[in-house]
């Protein structure tokens, strides 16, 4: 445990590094969803993965924290192969990876503050969690993050009485409670209206930049991706077909990513 902590502290001095090596995934044998993805994401900034529905974006980022089991290849976070981890080692790796979900995935019957403290569940024992005995530093951080996402007044409100935008703010705060090395966001704005989507993306980008946490976001909305991302990865048919700065993304690329061209008019 101490050796691991020391390694983490060393690594924390440098920006997080995530690398996909020939990553493949097939849900059905012979029908790969991901074709040997090679990608390196270094340092901070927001990386947007765009592409049509069903092209493997979600599968790709869910392979990182192993909510989906990769079929082949490797994923390295700070040099550690995440695909080889089992049991406790996997849980320790997951603690360092925050995740924001399309449908927020808050625990509906828990209060906002309890949902935030879920982000610390990798660090507290079962009895302490059951009795809600979280360390005071965790509770203080939870209230700070609640201030940062503008929901201080809702600490003891149940999650199921919040609006979509408020829920996603809680989702972001919960992920940041983990003090992650890396934040994954799986279509974080797809269930939100355009105005709230911009607010949520701005909030996520701002909070993560201030903390030096790199963000990888799956999204449909090309304009939103161009506005907030420092790097865009375009996927089509389980392959990376574009990788570059938002300014380099042309209509030709979009045709290649999404197919057709009528929708671009």
């Amino acid at each position: 445990m101490t050796a691991g902590t020391a390694a983490l502290e060393r690594a924390a001095l440098q920006p997080a590094a995530l690398e996909f090596r020939r990553l493949g995934k097939s849900y059905l044998p012979g029908h790969p969803v991901l074709h040997e993805i090679d990608l390196a994401i270094q340092g901070q900034g927001l990386t947007a993965i765009i592409g049509p529905s069903g092209t493997g974006k979600s599968t790709l980022i869910r392979c990182v924290n192993r909510l989906v089991e990769p079929s082949s290849g490797q994923i390295l976070l700070d040099g550690e192969d995440l695909t080889a981890l089992r049991g406790r080692a996997l849980r320790l790796a997951r603690r360092r990876i925050g995740m924001v979900f399309q449908e927020y995935n808050l625990v509906e019957r828990l209060t906002v503050i309890e949902n935030l403290l879920c982000g610390r569940l990798g660090y507290v024992g079962a009895v302490a969690a059951w009795l809600r005995r979280f360390p005071q530093t965790d509770i203080d951080r939870a209230f700070e993050l609640l201030d940062a996402v503008g929901l201080s007044a809702f600490a003891k409100t149940r999650a199921d009485s919040l609006s979509g935008g408020q829920r996603q703010r809680v989702g972001i705060a919960r992920a940041l409670m983990q003090q992650p090395r890396l934040l994954l966001a799986d279509e974080p704005t797809s269930s939100l209206d355009p105005k709230t989507s911009v607010e949520i993306m701005g909030l996520m980008q701002g909070l993560c930049e201030a903390r030096g946490i790199p963000v990888i976001v799956n999204m449909h909305d090309v304009e939103l991706a161009k506005r907030f991302a420092s790097r865009i990865i375009g996927m089509s048919g389980g392959r990376v077909v574009f990788d570059g700065a938002p300014t380099a993304l042309t209509d030709d690329h979009l045709k290649q990513i999404y197919g057709g061209e009528g929708w671009l008019e």
Partner: protein
Amino acid sequence: MSAPGSTAPAPGASRAAFSPNWLGRAGWLALLLYCIYAASLLDVTWSRFVIGLDQGAKFLDRMFPPNFSRWEAVLKGMKESLEISVLASVAGILISLPIGVMAARNLMPGWVSWPARALIAVCRTFHPVIVAIIFVKAVGFGALAGILALVIASIGFIGKLFAEAIEEISLKQVEAVRATGASFMNVILFGVLPQVFPRFIGFSTYQFDSNVRNSTMVGIVGAGGIGAPLFVAFQRFDYDVVCAILLAIIAVVFCCEILSNQVKKVFGEQRVAASG
């Protein structure tokens, strides 16, 4: 989203919104015929019913006024019944919690859930009175046999419904808690239990009510509680004493139902919001 239908009928033909369910109609008819057959076989006729009414009137006449002269025995039996039901409920609920979690097929691998489900099925197979007879033979006369019988009944009922409640939860919430690196126990505590806790309280209070009723009955087979004096009073044709005991049972069951409703109010919906 809706695909245009390609099965439009020929113009002029009327379209039926509901197709006749011949199999269902045949089933209803078969049930009706069987009821008539069974009634004829068992001498369930109007004249038999009238004879029964006559006897019932005599029985009622001998029941009133209720005879509370043996109130000490009634009180002692009632107290024992209540103790049996409370102990059996607490033990049964505590045991059925882990068994219910283990039996949930969406959380557990088959090699855990199937044995747990089999155990629940065995607990549900027999009526509490049969289980009570078995325990009376196994551990001897008295309250222990009654408690064990009702623990088994509680595990069968709460375990099954609790497992089913867990199988209906939203796995998205569980996934999010798991993604934070939480241990399995913490995933259960924060991802699963909050989703099923109000229903668990509902099942538990229902089973407590049920245990209170059943605890008055296991005494008939010698497993402790008010059932034994009741049975003795019946056999001696002391129907006024029977009436007194029945009134005592009604009072206790009624009080317990009020109590469970209060428990549901306190712990059911608001519990999670209140703890914060």
